[in-house]
Chain length 187, copies 2
């Protein structure tokens, strides 16, 4: 039997993205975002929902670029910290000891400590209400060499943080099945 | 050291959404979608990226509504099947033996066998290139009663399918940390 939970913004799984940009004073800053994902294949685009009041909102608008940095599970404390406090008041990236690198492709910094980095140029700014959906065209994806298996990104080695509606972080678990394959049995 | 993977549409983790709608002949249909996520808090909205050529694209445009059904890992065969074939040629939901229910809130069917169902009314249709981003306003979230722990959605009990860029499905693994909590230590 199904129970109604009401009109709530949730899905499962949700990602934990560390969205980094230069702020309006050109200082590197980042925040944690669970609302977003891939939104187009060609051109490849990623969307992130950012509340209009956030420091990151004005930084992305000014600099027209951001990076999405995917933390590993051992970085849950740092990721959570980036989501709880504002870069208006403090240098969060220094406090969390992230190694900040200036992207050569977009006008934004990335967090070299994260195993997966996606560099985006702002393509669309869509006002949906409380949040702007910033759609970034992906100019490059960079992964730590040790997260690849035979040249393919290995989710177990990236070990990304999953965010749940219960306000908890989880690991990725075991392999279930091959996609574009297991379903053929029903053809 | 970071390796460039090029300009690719990916993020980690990605969801496995079964996006259901009535087609242009008002027959229930669904497809698997890994590109999407929550895109706004107020009003609560979910976005799903659908290639312009897909049967689901014309169905959502005609009926102005869709549901996002989150399959559990034991439904990987059915989910994968919905992603591999088109509802133009066959009745996928009948073949995969889904129990289809007409939503009372939006003009779309939902899949009662999935533990989590999100009912959406089409709010925005954003052409981003190969894909339309359909932004749906969430009118209700319904969950199987046995997926709640103390009234809160329990990701371990929902057991949602995770999609990886390596074209594989994974389970959600172990608890890592409490969000809006573990990061306080860096304050």
């Amino acid at each position: 039997m199904k129970i109604s939970l009401g009109a709530k913004p949730l899905a499962l799984p949700m990602p934990t993205f560390l969205v980094a940009c230069y702020d309006i004073n050109l200082k590197p800053n980042a925040m944690a975002v669970a609302w977003g994902g891939v939104v187009c294949g060609q051109p490849p685009c990623l969307g992130v929902a950012i509340n209009h009041s956030r420091h990151t909102h004005e930084g992305i608008l000014k600099n027209k670029a951001f990076t999405v940095n995917v933390p590993k599970t051992s970085q849950s404390t740092e990721a959570d910290y980036l989501g709880m406090f504002s870069g208006r008041d403090r240098d969060k990236l220094e406090r969390a000891k992230f190694t900040v690198i200036k992207s050569e492709l977009v006008n934004a910094p990335y967090l070299d400590d994260c195993p997966l980095v996606i560099e985006c140029e702002l393509a669309h700014n869509i006002d949906l209400g409380s949040h702007a959906l910033f759609v970034g065209q992906i100019l490059d994806v960079k992964a730590n060499e040790n997260t690849l298996t035979d040249g393919v990104l290995d989710i177990g080695k990236v070990d990304p943080l999953i965010y749940s509606d219960s306000r908890e972080y989880y690991k990725v678990g075991s392999f279930v099945a091959k996609a574009f394959s297991v379903g053929k049995s029903l053809k």
